[in-house]
Assembly symmetry: C2
Homo-oligomer: 176 residues x 2
Amino acid sequence: MHKGWGVAPSQPLNFDPIEEARRQWHDHGWTEAAEGMALVTSIIRAQQIYLARIDAELRPLDLTFARFEILTLLSFTRHGLLPMSKIGARLQVHPTSVTSSVDRLEEQGLVRRRAHETDRRTTLVEILPPGRRVLKKATAALNDRVFASPGVSKKETAALFTLLRSLRANEGDFSE
Amino acid sequence: MHKGWGVAPSQPLNFDPIEEARRQWHDHGWTEAAEGMALVTSIIRAQQIYLARIDAELRPLDLTFARFEILTLLSFTRHGLLPMSKIGARLQVHPTSVTSSVDRLEEQGLVRRRAHETDRRTTLVEILPPGRRVLKKATAALNDRVFASPGVSKKETAALFTLLRSLRANEGDFSE
């Protein structure tokens, strides 16, 4: 077990509040929606847990997970650069979010915007050496202290990934 | 399939970007962290998908999911009221978040704060009739258009819930 809670500095409850909500849903006759409510609420809670653990690692490096993801994506390309539009598509975030994250990364001196050599309508984002250095530290911290211990067994991790992949595909994130 | 994406108004990708990230993790030798990274990123993405669907239903009612959850919790009590501290513990959110949500609900005339009759240090929050009315609409909208169709089959919903329950328990949300 990790620090637990993550978002609320309290004692663990002695019952599962989401099970309790599900029971209430059934008691109110909302049977068709009860299991979905429990799932959606569980996903939201799991995200809060992980994000709190991630933020604890990234805050000392003055990064957010959104900015970490952009740096990671850029670092994986051959020349360390990508068009703005491609960053949004790959990270599945709205263009305005990409813009504000890139603004901040540029202020921090971790990336720079560049004009495309042939297509003047395209803005490229390039990771800079300080960006690569902070990314290396961030990746090591997240790998060691979050991703290597996601709170479930290897088998459960694989099962969850597969089920969530089906969810993401069904909701239109990607097609195969 | 629903509107898809939820957060990014684009075409679906023709590959799974999280699978691709996982492959990159393995290629970089971060093997111990690769599966956890894929899980954590999938949870964050699933949360974005659901939250976008929830927000689309609640925005016309001028509610957020956090405020919906507080109203729901109050409505489930015998007298429609709870101490502030209990709301935070049950919803597993930080006291400052509860305070700002209750402030907003009070401005909207949906709840009111009351002094506790015997314990003066305790502030109670009470749901008001307009709160019950908007909650009824919000619950119907979410039940019909989000919770009854969470994007996976009934069997997958149950499997996901069980796995996420194990994750939440291991991370210290509750003990049994």
